[in-house]
C-alpha cells in the first residue's frame, strides 16, 4: 500500500466518525445505570452479591458493635472507627457502631465481607465529595440513610456504534 493511499484510508476512517453519535456521557445530568443495589455479602454461604461498591449502609437494628469491620479495615485503610451511639439496643450493650472516614476508604468491601450479622452493606452512591475533611467522615446516623441515586443512562450498541442514551 502506498503512502498516499494509507494516509487517505486513515483520514477516511476518522471522517466516518463524524456521523456517529457521541459516545461520552454528559455526567452530572446523565448517570450510568448499574445492576441492582450495592455490593452485599451473605455470611451463611460466604459469597458476595454483585453490585456497585459505593458508600456503606449500616443497619442499626442489626449491628452488635463486634468491631469485626474495624478489624478488617485495620490492614487496609484504617477508615473505620468505632464510636459511641446514644441509642440503646439489646444486642449492642457497648453501644458502639462503625464510623467511616471516606477520605481513607478504598472501597474494597472487605468490611462487608467481615460482617456476620447482615448489618453492613454497600450502596450505589458514589458522589461523596465534600469541601472539608470532616465532611467525609460519616457517622453511624449518616450511614443509616439509604441514598437515592438517579440511574437513567444505559450503553446502547447499534450497527452505527455505541452511545449512551
Amino acid at each position: 500500500m502506498g503512502t498516499a493511499t494509507g494516509i487517505i484510508r486513515a483520514l477516511n476512517s476518522g471522517i466516518k466518525h463524524l456521523a456517529i453519535k457521541r459516545f461520552t456521557l454528559r455526567y452530572p445530568e446523565e448517570k450510568l445505570k448499574f445492576v441492582g443495589d450495592g455490593y452485599q455479602y451473605d455470611p451463611s454461604t460466604g459469597v458476595g452479591i454483585a453490585g456497585l461498591k459505593g458508600r456503606h449502609m449500616l443497619f442499626h437494628d442489626k449491628c452488635t458493635g463486634c468491631q469485626l469491620c474495624a478489624i478488617a479495615c485495620e490492614g487496609v485503610a484504617e477508615a473505620i472507627a468505632m464510636v459511641k451511639v446514644p441509642e440503646e439496643h439489646k444486642h449492642n450493650k457497648k453501644a458502639i457502631m462503625p464510623q467511616i472516614d471516606y477520605g481513607k476508604c478504598v472501597f474494597c468491601g472487605l468490611c462487608v465481607d467481615a460482617c456476620p450479622f447482615y448489618a453492613l452493606y454497600m450502596t450505589n452512591d458514589y458522589e461523596l465529595c465534600s469541601f472539608s475533611k470532616e465532611g467525609l467522615i460519616y457517622t453511624p446516623a449518616q450511614l443509616q440513610v439509604k441514598p437515592y441515586v438517579a440511574q437513567d443512562v444505559d450503553i446502547i450498541i447499534t450497527d452505527r456504534g455505541a452511545s449512551h442514551g
Binding site: 459516545f23 445492576v35 460466604g46 459469597v47 454483585a50 453490585g51 461498591k53 474494597c108 465481607d113
Partner: protein, 399 residues
C-alpha cells in the same frame, strides 16, 4: 551463543566511582562527567509526562543517543514489605495498586500461590470467572497503554479512541465486581461474588462490539504510513538478545520467541480454550506495538469461549476461616501472563497469618533492562516510540 552483552555500551554512571560522602557529590546525571565535549547529558523525567514517574539519563551526540541510563524508583511504595505485616486477605487491596489498570492480573499469581499454601481447591465456576475477569482486565490495560502510545507519537485520535472504547470494558468490570478500576475481586478460594443477572448477554454484546471496534484501529493506526515510518526498524531487538536480556511478554513475542505463560504453563482453566499466542519476527517498535493489539483479539476469543463453557451454576468461593494460616514453613512460586508479560509471585509462609516474605517478579522491570541496548544509536525523536513499546509501567517496576 556468546556470553557478552549484545551491544557493548558503558553507562556514564558506572564509569566513575563516585564518593558520595564528599561535599561535591551530585546525583548521577547532574554530576559533571568527564566526557567528550560533544556529548550532552539530558534528563528526561521524572516530571516529564512522557517518561512516567521515572527518569531516563540520556547522553546525546547531536541528535543521536550515545547512552541511556534508566533511573527508576521514584514511585517505590514498599509493597513487598507491607505484605509482611498484613494477613493473606488484607493483602489483596494494596497488592493490586502497582498496576491498577491490570488489577486482576497482578492479584492472580498471589491468589494462586496462597491457594496452594493453604491447600484450597477452587470451584470450577470460579476458575472461569477468574479467566473472564483477567482477560477483560488485560484488554483494559492494553487499551490504556495503546492510548498513551498514540499520544507519545502525536497521534491524538489514537488517544481518544482507545480511551473511549475502554469504557465499555470498564463498565463490564463494574457490573461484575462493583469497582471500575481497583476491583479486589480475586480472593484465595475463588472470586468475591457471582455474576449479576443478565451479565452473559451484556458481556457478549459488548465484547462483540469491542472486537469489531479494535479492528478499525488498523486503518487509523497500524496501517498508517506515518506510524510505520516512525516505528519500523527502530529499536530492533533480535531474538537472541531478547532471550539473553530476560525480556518477557509482548517484547519477547515481538522478537520471535513463542512464550506465553497461558500456553506453556496453563493455570486454572486456560488449557481448555482455543487461542493463539501472537508471535512476530521483526523485533522492532512496530512489532512490539502490534503484538498487544493482536493479543486483545485473542482475549476477546477467550472471553467468548469462557462465557459458553462456564458451568451454569455452582459455588464461586470457598469459605475460609477468618485468619487463614499456612501449614508450616513452605514456599510457593506462581506466575501468570499479565498484560505486560509473565508476572510471578513468590510467597514464603511460616505458619502465621501473614506471609514471611512476598516477592513480586514484575514484567515491567524485566523489560526495562532492554531499554539502554535499544536506544543506543537511535535518534532522540525515536526515544518515546521505543520506550513505550517496551510495555513498561513505572509503578509496577518500582513496586
Amino acid at each position: 551463543m556468546t556470553t557478552e552483552l549484545p551491544r557493548d555500551i558503558k553507562l556514564a554512571s558506572s564509569e566513575k566511582q563516585i564518593d558520595q560522602s564528599s561535599s561535591n557529590w551530585l546525583p548521577p546525571g547532574l554530576a559533571l562527567q568527564k566526557v567528550d565535549e560533544k556529548i550532552m547529558t539530558l534528563n528526561v523525567g521524572p516530571q516529564h509526562p512522557g517518561s512516567g514517574h521515572m527518569r531516563l539519563i540520556i547522553q546525546i551526540d547531536g541528535d543521536y543517543i550515545v547512552a541511556c541510563d534508566p533511573d527508576p524508583g521514584y514511585v517505590h511504595r514498599g509493597e513487598e514489605k507491607m505484605a509482611e505485616y498484613r494477613n493473606y486477605i488484607t493483602n489483596i487491596p494494596h497488592l493490586e495498586r502497582p498496576v491498577i489498570h491490570d488489577s486482576c492480573n497482578i492479584l492472580y499469581p498471589y491468589v494462586l500461590g496462597v491457594e496452594e499454601l493453604l491447600g484450597i481447591e477452587v470451584p470450577e465456576r470460579a476458575k472461569y470467572l477468574r479467566v473472564i475477569g483477567a482477560e477483560i482486565n488485560r484488554c483494559i490495560y492494553i487499551m490504556y497503554w495503546l492510548a498513551i502510545y498514540g499520544i507519545f507519537l502525536g497521534h491524538s485520535t489514537m488517544f481518544m479512541w482507545p480511551t473511549g472504547d475502554r469504557e465499555l470494558l470498564i463498565d463490564l468490570m463494574e457490573k461484575m465486581t462493583g469497582a471500575r478500576v481497583t476491583h479486589s475481586h480475586f480472593v484465595p478460594g475463588g472470586v468475591r461474588n457471582d455474576l449479576p443477572a443478565n451479565f452473559e448477554d451484556v458481556c457478549l454484546r459488548q465484547v462483540n462490539y469491542f472486537e469489531k471496534r479494535i479492528k478499525e484501529y488498523a486503518a487509523v493506526f497500524y496501517d498508517n504510513p506515518i506510524l510505520i515510518s516512525r516505528t519500523k526498524d527502530t529499536g530492533v531487538l533480535s531474538r537472541q538478545d531478547a532471550i539473553r536480556l530476560g525480556t518477557t511478554g509482548s517484547v519477547l513475542r515481538a522478537s520471535g520467541v513463542d512464550f506465553d505463560v497461558r500456553k506453556k504453563e496453563p493455570y486454572d482453566v486456560y488449557d481448555e480454550f482455543d487461542f493463539e499466542s501472537i508471535v512476530m519476527k521483526e523485533g522492532d517498535s512496530y512489532a512490539r506495538s502490534k503484538v498487544p493489539w493482536l493479543d486483545m483479539m485473542e482475549s476477546c476469543r477467550i472471553i467468548k469461549q469462557a462465557l459458553e463453557k462456564i458451568p451454569k451454576s455452582g459455588s464461586v468461593r470457598v469459605k475460609l476461616k477468618p485468619n487463614p494460616k499456612g501449614k508450616g514453613f513452605d514456599t510457593v512460586y506462581k506466575r501468570v501472563e499479565s498484560g505486560r508479560g509473565s508476572l510471578g509471585c513468590y510467597i514464603v509462609s511460616d505458619a502465621k497469618p501473614e506471609p514471611y516474605r512476598l516477592k513480586l517478579s514484575v514484567p515491567s522491570f524485566r523489560n526495562l533492562i532492554a531499554l539502554p541496548y535499544l536506544l543506543k544509536g537511535e535518534k532522540l525523536g525515536n526515544m518515546p516510540a521505543v520506550y513505550w513499546s517496551l510495555n513498561y509501567w513505572p509503578v509496577e517496576a518500582d513496586r
